[in-house]
């Protein structure tokens, strides 16, 4: 019998504990940031579109937490107040069959909440997710996915190859609108750098577009997000934002490296010949999109 009692107690308190753990860990870890494995909110994107996602996440969280607390609270109240053992002997439960007013209430209130969330999401969608959002990019980088790695083709005419668990970063300049044109040569891949912004798929057959604009220098991790074969987990991704002068230096160095590997038939670049630059485009950053 004593065992039973213990179970009853635990049954009433456990949901409370779950709620407490959720929220204590939530608030305590909110400050900790990425890497802890316990971050309770979406990263605050370093790019404006990512930042807007973070804002939306917070907006959704207000009604979400409210509903969560309300419903779990009601459940706990039922658990405590209406157990037969606690009620007076001859208690006869009221035989309600429904209540029009209440039923309308819990149809309309959620609807209103959803209208707010939906509208805010739609506004963000229109601002950040259309072609207009990145119509006038400062730089266009063509990102091509393949089993298992990435190619970043810069407007200046060189291509960076990135593969493996410690990949070569995609270098971008700070404070410039960088448009990414995404495509794949084989199966579907996904481009995701959580600390910058949301993900976009790389689908063979058509081009997807996304963009980033980062204000401070830094380096962030990412990864392919569509299962693309045995080596999928090795398809790691790095994006590195550098100051504009550093970026210019990076471009110069990459161009020089490319020229060197093309002129000297080094064993490391046997496939360089077919990609002969029939008049490589001048290094003008706002040059039109590179053809695929």
């Amino acid at each position: 019998m004593r065992g039973r009692l213990w179970f009853r107690r635990a049954f009433a308190t456990l949901p409370v504990l779950v709620v407490l753990v959720l929220f204590c860990s939530g608030t305590a870890l909110a400050a900790e940031g990425s890497g802890s494995g316990l971050d309770p909110i979406v990263p605050n994107g370093k790019s404006p579109n990512g930042h807007h996602i973070w804002q939306l996440y917070l907006l959704v969280s207000i009604p979400a937490l409210f509903i969560f607390l309300l419903v779990e609270g009601l459940l706990i109240t039922v658990l405590i107040k209406f157990r037969r053992k606690k009620l007076p002997k001859g208690y006869k439960p009221p035989q309600w069959h429904g209540h029009r007013g209440l039923e309308v209430l819990w149809t309309v209130i959620p609807a209103l909440i959803l209208i707010v969330i939906g509208s805010a999401s739609f506004i963000t969608l229109q601002n950040d997710y259309t072609a207009q959002a990145s119509n006038n990019p400062d730089i266009d980088i063509a990102v091509t996915g393949h089993q298992y790695g990435w190619k970043f083709k810069y407007p200046e005419g060189f291509t960076v190859d990135s593969e493996g668990l410690t990949p070569t970063p995609m270098v971008i300049p700070t404070s410039k609108l960088v448009r990414l044109k995404l495509n794949s040569t084989d199966v579907i891949h996904g481009f995701w750098v959580p600390d910058l912004t949301g993900k976009t798929d790389l689908v063979p057959g058509y081009e997807n577009v996304t963009w980033v604009k980062v204000s401070q220098p830094g380096e962030w991790r990412g990864e392919c997000t569509e299962l693309c074969g045995t080596g999928h987990y090795t398809m790691q991704l790095r994006v590195k934002a550098v100051s504009q002068s550093d970026y210019a230096a990076f471009v110069q160095k990459s161009l020089a490296d490319q020229a060197k590997s093309k002129s000297s038939p080094s064993p490391r670049a046997p496939g360089a010949a077919p990609a002969a630059p029939a008049g490589s485009p001048p290094a003008s950053p706002s040059a039109g999109p590179t053809t695929r």
């Binding site: 316990l38 419903v71 039923e103 939906g118 084989d186």
Partner: protein
Amino acid sequence: MANVLAPPRPKSYDDTFFKPVSLWLTTTDHKLIGIMYMTTGMLAFVLGGILALVMRIQLAQPNLKVIDAETYNQLLSAHGTTMIFFFVTIFMTGIANYFVPLMIGARDMAFPRVNLFGFWLIPISIAIYYTGFFTGGALDAGWTGYPPLTTKQFNPGLGVDLWAASIILWCVSGIMASVNFLTTIVALRAPGMGFSRLPLFVWAQICTSLLLLAVGAPLAAALFLLELDRQAGTSFFVSNGGRPVLFQHLFWFFGHPEVYVLILPGFGMVSEIIPVFARKPIFGYTSMVGALFSIVFLSMAVWGHHMLTVGMNIYVETWFMVMTMLIAIPTGIKFFNWIATAWGGSIDFQIPMKYVFGFLATFLIGGITGVYLSSVPVNTQVHQSYYVVAHFHYVMVGGSVFTLLAGTQYWFPKITGRMLNKTLGEWSFWLFFIGFNGTFLVMHTLGLEGMPRRIYSYPGGFGEEGWGATNMFITVFSFVIAASVLVFIYNLVVSWKYGEPAGDDPWGGNTLEWATTSPPPPYNFEKVPVVRSFMPLRDMREDGLRPSLASPE
């Protein structure tokens, strides 16, 4: 039931339970077929669970090499397929097979032989899928099997073909079962059981069957087209000239309704169990039925929310977002109606009721994360990450599995004539509740930090410093789930043999299945029951009638 062609049935189960085997293979009795469905589902649960544990061991720490990457992908795909197609759907079909005819006062399903045939397609389907492991590798592209990864060019092995064959067969079986349920419910109801007096579990089964009937064929079609690509060189989905994304549309046109196929029967069970243990009628019967039907229709208009990163037009995306958000409304109605049913009741927290409250407490979290996921911009952050893995396990385990365990606890006495052991019941419930939340709660945070789903391993270095500890925590708790499932199954087996006798109506039920003996005789009811409300058994009790309709003394 005026089925002249019906094969002879045993007079009683006393001499047929467990013997002879030939009866089990050839019976057309809906109850025995129901038990076979449930047994198959339970075995699939154990199998899928073992696969999950192996995956969890592999993920416990960064850079482990317990299994290789190819094996991981195969286990992942088999786990998803097994849990969705072979466990939850099949187990739910089993419960419905057993109880829909009883609840409507019928003697069997409308098409007993179709019922038997439909059941036997399932073990065959499972066997075909698992043959892949012995013929050079099973499906390794996730349970969704997106092309181009599953086209011949990138996946020449037999595994994909076996998967397609297995699932097409499954669709055929599901369509047969759906037609059977719908016909049974429309044609074989007891006198007085109008549609406004159907138990909500039966309403839920109507909706489930309508859904599976509508979306089973498109899935079969998608897999058929994929096979044409693979075998006949067509190019529906291939990367050169085909439209890989078209497959996703077809797949998710099935895939989203499928999650409601998994959960609606559970909703039905909860709507039956709460009134019985709270001693109150269901709150808002009509709005419960209305909510079920709005879920049926809306769930076929939301499939694109699984594809919000493939680059659709933003207005199309907005449509899917709005439809998805709309589904939250009927789900909310059901939730509040359940709480209102319990509110003011005199609640006896027997084990089935604990599972129901476990369901309410956890499924809520899955519902709320669903609203986050429906917001398109937020979706692009959390899609295909562990956040989604957490979300759908909260929905499918917190929802479907909790309810089907509740249903098993609730109806076991009727099926076997014996009560489940209470102490073991407490242990299995608490281990499951704690293990489940321990396993899946922190998966949300891993996903928010950028851990993608379907990865074999993670470096654990730059930006991932804390992932190892969190993953270890998850793996430890997944073994708590395993322990709870062992206790649960042990309880089933032991109580079936040695449990206390249950009597006809151990809980004070409301619906007709409690009016007959436990287990019910082969013909279910001696007298045809008469119904004058949606709680016929309660009416009989209140009229002071002896409820048993099985043995007229």
